[in-house]
């Protein structure tokens, strides 16, 4: 098991290098000059050239990329052009906000998603089933920015009950969590439903009933334990992608998290910062997959990693 985990962790290194190269060279192809954007208001050609030299931006791309890789090997993600601070520090400041949002959204989506999925699967075809699945499908299908705008309009503008932007109190969390949680819970609900329906058709459910167990126990102790295996995988991947920042939600609600950093870095052609956020996200997604893998092995006794 430990060997397996170590192997997985080492195998992330080439992925991280590949992703960084992709981002680096793509950003070089994209038109736009970080220095020009920085100095938008007073364009003095001499000053621009001086700054460019100071930041080593006049070196060829390959040289700059190798320099970046060297830094990364030492855990140094570079220096943000725009913020004039180390990238790792910028990410460390923004991450708690994203963490708060992602954790709340994930918890909401798991609780609602699993509850809705179970309620649907217990009485398939019922009114409740159709209503819940309609709600889930709506959540999955609605574009995030649109759902955010609609909720902002209803709860912020019409009802005046909740703030539409900012990140100062728990009230500011409600709408963004609702937007993210709705879509994510839809995925969890639909997967839970189909997986549980499949489990309920299995022979061991008939056995559990033949033992005289209450239907509630048949579902919770026998069917659900099997049905949640694929759901757990999705949940681990969900949380890792939520943690790497929700660009749209954070932008619409003005939350200073990783997602907003990334979009800001693109606008400003702030290469080091963009690299940092993308690599951070890549790392989280890989870690999420690894955790899903390990959870699966723990929950399903049939799957055990080969020992050495």
């Amino acid at each position: 098991m430990i060997r397996y985990v170590l192997l997985k962790i080492f195998s992330t290194i080439p992925i991280l290098i590949g992703v960084s190269a992709l981002v680096f060279f793509l950003m070089n192809v994209v038109p736009g000059d970080p220095i020009a954007i920085m100095q938008r208001d007073f364009i003095d050609p001499d000053a621009l050239e001086r700054v460019r030299r100071e930041m080593h931006l006049d070196d060829p791309p390959m040289v700059r990329y190798v320099r970046f890789l060297k830094g990364m090997a030492h855990g140094d993600l570079g220096y943000s052009y725009k913020m004039r601070r180390p990238v790792s520090g910028v990410i460390a400041t923004a991450f708690p906000n994203t963490l708060k949002l992602a954790t709340c959204a994930a918890l909401v989506s798991w609780i609602i998603g699993i509850a809705a999925g179970v309620a649907s699967a217990v009485k398939p075809g019922s009114f409740l089933d159709n209503a819940l699945m309609g709600f889930s499908l709506t959540g999955i299908s609605m574009p995030t920015f649109w759902a955010a705008l609609v909720l902002q309009y209803i709860f912020g503008v019409l009802l005046g009950a909740l703030p539409v932007a900012g990140f100062d109190s728990w009230k500011h969390l409600v709408l963004p969590v609702a937007v993210l949680g709705w879509g994510q819970s839809g995925i969890v609900a639909r997967l839970t439903r189909s997986s549980l329906l499949d489990a309920m058709r299995r022979d061991y459910i008939r056995t559990a009933r033949a033992k005289g167990l209450r239907e509630r126990i048949v579902i919770s102790a026998h069917a659900l334990k099997n049905a949640l295996l694929p759901v757990v995988t999705i949940m681990a991947i969900q949380i890792s992608s939520l943690l790497s920042g929700s660009i749209v939600t954070e932008s619409v609600f003005g939350i200073p998290g990783i997602g907003r950093l990334a979009i800001g870095a693109i606008h400003n052609r702030d290469m080091p910062l963009l690299q940092g956020t993308v690599l951070f996200g890549t790392f989280l997604v890989i870690a999420g997959n690894l955790i899903a893998d390990m959870l699966y092995g723990t929950l399903d006794p049939r799957i055990r990693y080969v020992k050495d």
Partner: protein, 342 residues
């Protein structure tokens, strides 16, 4: 009074094509301590009958008639009363022991579950009972097996665990639905021996559902031969095997390979011509008639009654009507009358 008495049981399924009659008025009895076989091809209604005794038929099934267990009509029980009956008075084991055990729960958890969750016995006492039960079904190293998962056990061992699980609350009746079909031949024999031994020791009656005549001959006291939802012949195991009277029953006997007979390799095994009729379009009259070499015009018109041949031996065939006394004639005639009118 018999332990189990099924009277005029009819089971129909609501399907998209209409009502499907799976079982059309059967009578089956089992005494305490008796092993009763129900034999027939797939689709003859034997498993459906077993599930109806357990109260585990799907919602779209409609049942009528009576299933008396110690005099109580199971069909008249509420779902909650039926749930309390399962596991305590009747238990069931199934065809695929591997699939019938929950893959993510340990053997111990599955064995002790009814004791802990339903009877409220303490965890450690339940574990002791589970160990004793596993020893009863001859599982070696019983205590260590409790922490095993089903995929770590062989098929035969899984079936032993299933049997232990079914008998842990000492039911009066055990329904075994093809308990050996998925197992190797040598393991089959061991499981059959175990079932017989448990019957001898506990006096639990066994209703054995199978298509395998060898299993019936090995284990059963009495046999019901079913075809397309009807009992075609019933009797004790000697009457059925030595003197099968219904053309379907002796067709079955002839299609059985005999271990003792010298096989020259040239002799082809007998098979009954034709196939089981579509239950949605049952022929009027005897359902076996289209495949029967001895059928006459009467067979196509009217389903015969069960005719009593000798004590305990009865057959549903026109060949014997008039030559033998009709079994339970009144009730059967009443039913035939209704069928003709319909």
């Amino acid at each position: 009074m018999s332990l189990l008495e099924i009277r005029d049981l009819m089971i129909t399924f609501q399907t998209q094509r209409g009502l499907l009659p799976a079982v059309s008025g059967i009578d089956i009895e089992a005494q305490a301590g008796e092993i009763v076989g129900v034999v027939g091809e797939s689709g003859c209604g034997k498993t459906v009958t077993a599930l109806s005794v357990m109260g585990l038929l799907p919602d779209r099934a409609r049942t009528s008639g009576e299933i008396l267990l110690d005099g109580t009509d199971l069909l008249g029980l509420t779902p909650e009363e039926m749930r309390r009956t399962r596991g305590t008075r009747i238990s069931m084991i199934f065809q695929e022991p591997m699939a019938a055990l929950n893959p993510v729960l340990t053997v111990g958890r599955q064995l002790t579950e009814p004791l802990v969750r339903i009877m409220g016995i303490g965890e450690s006492e339940a574990t002791e009972q589970a160990v004793r039960m596993l020893e009863t079904v001859h599982v070696s190293g019983a205590r260590e097996r409790l922490s095993a998962y089903p995929h770590q056990l062989s098929g035969g061992l899984c079936q032993r665990v299933m049997i232990a699980m079914a008998l842990i609350r000492q039911p009066r009746l055990l329904i075994a639905d093809e308990p050996t079909t998925a197992l190797d031949v040598t393991i089959q024999a061991q499981i059959l021996d175990l079932l017989r031994e448990l019957r001898d020791r506990t006096g639990t009656a066994i209703l054995l559902i199978t298509h395998d005549l060898g299993v019936v001959a090995e284990l059963c006291d009495r046999v019901y031969v079913m075809y397309a939802g009807h009992v075609m012949e019933q009797g004790n195991v000697y009457q059925i095997f030595d003197d099968p009277m219904h053309p379907y029953a002796y067709g079955l006997m002839r299609s059985m390979p005999e271990a003792g007979r010298a096989n020259t390799g040239r002799e082809e095994l007998y098979s009954i011509p034709g196939t089981v009729p579509d239950l949605m379009n049952m022929p009027s009259g005897c359902p076996f008639c289209p495949r029967c070499a001895e059928s006459g015009p009467l067979c196509r018109e009217i389903l015969p009654q069960l005719v009593r041949i000798s004590k305990g031996h009865a057959v549903r065939c026109w060949k014997y009507v008039g030559t033998h006394r009709a079994h339970d004639a009144d009730r059967t005639e009443e039913r035939e009358g209704a069928r003709v009118a319909r």
